[in-house]
């Protein structure tokens, strides 16, 4: 018996965004380090992986991860501000930072997309 999703509010959406992006990053990071590790080990395998990473679907996934990292960073900074800075008022939970974090993630995504398209 949860509260219904339609009754969720901004700060809850921020929580969901933060958790989902955090989990996705946690899942991705070991793979990322694996690739970096291979870079140290041998040219051939790295080249194979880099070719794999250049495939469109893989590029799209990479784009999503960059956006998620930007979102996680933005929402994480809001949480740190909410928890460790003085509040502007009794109910001033810096909700407008949520939109800013989303906007920041989106613009990082656009810049990344632009750099991919430019080759």
């Amino acid at each position: 018996m949860g509260l219904r999703s339609a009754d969720r509010h901004q700060a809850y959406l921020a929580f969901l965004g933060h958790r989902i992006s955090g989990l996705a990053l946690a899942f991705f990071l070991p793979l990322h380090f694996l690739v970096l590790g291979l870079a140290l080990e041998g040219q051939a395998r790295l080249d194979g992986l880099l070719a794999f990473a250049a495939m469109p679907a893989v590029k799209a996934a990479e784009w999503a991860l960059v956006v998620l990292l930007a979102l996680h960073l933005g929402l994480g900074l809001r949480l740190l501000a909410v928890e460790f800075l003085a509040w502007p008022g009794a109910r001033g939970a810096r909700l407008h930072w949520i939109g800013r974090a989303a906007g920041f993630a989106l613009s990082v995504g656009l810049v990344f997309l632009w750099s991919i398209l430019r080759g």
Binding site: L3, A6, A93
Partner: protein
Amino acid sequence: MNEVERTVPATEEGRSLTVRIWRGAQDGEFVSYAVPWRANQTVLDVVTEIQRRIEPALAYRFSCRVGVCGSCAMTVNGKPRWTCRSHVGHVHEDGVLTLEPLRNLPRIKDLVVDMSGFFDKWQQAGGRFSGTATRHDPPAAVDPYSRKRRLADAAIECINCGVCHAACDVVAWKPDYLGPAALNRAWTLVNDERHAGARDTLKRALADGGCCACHTQGGCMAHCPLGLSPTGSIAGLKRLALLEFFKGGR
């Protein structure tokens, strides 16, 4: 769900309201009642009408009827609310009200939950005031504009209704989490310069299951009928936790 229909004749205008009420305890079912839809009625009025005219065995809880006592909270169309201060016109959905007991507390019967665990958490959070003055001392002179007094004031009006406790997912996920109401109370006491047990209250509020379990989802703040901000109080406790950590207090 196989729902039963029970009815009171509609008013002259003929409009009637469908009220689905949880009957039973942990196990139970929704029963539908139809009652006259009046221009001015609260959700609590509707529950009372059903109990007086259709279902005498319906169990629910209330006292003051005006948002002072904190006993009438229920889940109304999916949200925790004071039923006595919820106008039917503002909360019905296409003429339907779905009423359930408050979330995150054991159900006793129908709309009544067992609040004892909720109150126990207030004690666990160090929520009991202990003074040092006697009746022979003059009243404490607390500067109303001091920083600490203003912090306490912002959180002090809580009436223990349990709405925030029901709104919080962390309470649902982690049953030993003290919850927003108990931690909000602890925050007022930590800022009360007359409270002799401030260190103890702080230690309890920072312990396992205390303020650091909160994920700042803000459900408590979004639902508190008084517009209090347990989220803010808990953030205050977290700041103190960090200070304690750097001081090597814990």
